[in-house]
Symmetry: C2
Subunit: 255 residues, 2 copies
């Protein structure tokens, strides 16, 4: 076997997560049932969806009263005004609004469709939506601490979401919360093979981790919401936050 | 061990690639030297840099005569006019040009900084640059066929590049050439756990593979330009091309 080798597997048979569930316990139980355990240095990429569910970030659309701005915008983008109301409440600003598409700057600073509000795999009522976690970095830190205290392992945590993007087709995984890991790794100042200084190389480490996990977790179900990455080379630099992945709007040529 | 499990490793000790080199032979030799072999279903993510080198996509800057448009643009973006001339020759249009940044639509259809022209890890002359492969899909197909004929294995190939992106900090891996694999996987029409139809889910499979490999290949050297991914679940859909990853400009709200 060639080393270094990176491996990735899904925590098997995770139950459907309910509000109030203890994710650390669910992950521990699911691993133990398969005689698997975590190791120091493992990275857990956890779908924001199950974090939101455990933190009860559900909204019952029957309780949402769309305001004038939501009603107007809903007409323009041809979406449910109650969902548009919640998108507005979750956002700092609107980036693009055309029929079928509503892209906003989320209160957490990233740019995404519909403020990350989720209608798929939420529940069977048909009238609940799921918001992103209030503070994904805090959620990540709490999960990391819980695993440390109860299993004695030191792991990294990524809370992942799924984003579309300009220019390129297809969704990819992104990191919206991070604990125990760098978010971006700045290679500027290092030299290449021929001694030339790297001028503009910053690696989107958190998003690379989330996209790797995305290959195993899929999108059509919630059955594999926790992916364990083992053996990933991690730069020995300061730990970061999900917010570190957000480009400063002043340095963004495409807002 | 939990299955399915995905593993990834770098083909070890790849030599520095020179124009005319036979990449299939280099990969075979490097694997054989470590008693490793490829398996049916493996996916090889290969840095566009070594493909370009083997195909001799070098340009000697001493031979480049910048035209009037390049001279003007070079002033604006504060870059070497000869490099700007080559960026223009490799591009269909300019997307953004501000001091220090030149983003273009490449002739291959994707949007990237400097048309993917590479100055790092190119050689020690200090006056050569490296263009992207002429036709990365054709390069991928030839590598796939070569491995099939000479090793008897059926693999998927991704030719990868490194892109920055709007909204988010940090570079990620992208697929610019593909053989034997889908590029994007369209999940629209599938149903979620609660029977709700997925409306807008297209997975950027090729880019997910490239970003996974990016975790192992790094950016500051050319020492790990070939990453083998084993055990990746691949959708049973039509094979694609690198160009499939390009969003139709008419459907892109951020050009």
């Amino acid at each position: 076997m060639i080393t270094p080798q990176m491996t990735a597997f899904a925590v098997p048979d995770m139950p459907l997560v309910q509000p109030g569930d203890d994710l650390v316990a669910l992950i521990m139980d699911a691993l133990a049932a398969h005689d698997e355990s975590l190791q120091d240095g493992d990275i857990l990429v956890i779908s924001s969806k199950i974090v939101s569910k455990s933190e009860d970030c559900f909204v019952d659309l029957y309780t949402v009263k769309p305001g004038a701005k939501a009603l107007e915008l809903a007409e323009k983008v041809n979406k449910d005004p109650r969902i548009v109301e919640m998108v507005l409440q979750e956002s700092k600003s609107i980036s693009r609004a055309v029929p079928g598409v509503l892209v906003v700057e989320h209160r957490l600073g990233f740019v995404s469709a519909n403020a990350g509000i989720d209608q798929s795999n939420v529940d069977d009522s048909g009238h609940h939506i799921l918001l992103l976690p209030i503070d994904p970095d805090a959620s990540a830190a709490a999960l990391r601490q819980g695993l440390q205290e109860r299993l004695g392992v030191t792991v990294g945590i990524v809370i992942s979401d799924t984003h579309g993007r300009p220019f390129r087709r297809g969704n990819v995984g992104v990191a919206i919360g991070i604990a125990g890991l760098p978010a971006v790794v700045d290679l500027r100042g290092e030299v290449d093979l021929f001694g030339r200084e790297m001028l503009a190389s910053v690696e989107g480490f958190g998003d690379l981790l989330a996209s790797t996990a995305h290959l195993l977790c899929g999108e059509t179900n919630e059955g594999r919401p926790v992916i364990v990455l083992r053996g990933v080379p991690v730069a020995d630099v300061e730990h970061g936050l999900g917010a570190d992945m957000n480009r400063d709007p002043a340095h963004d040529l495409y807002r």
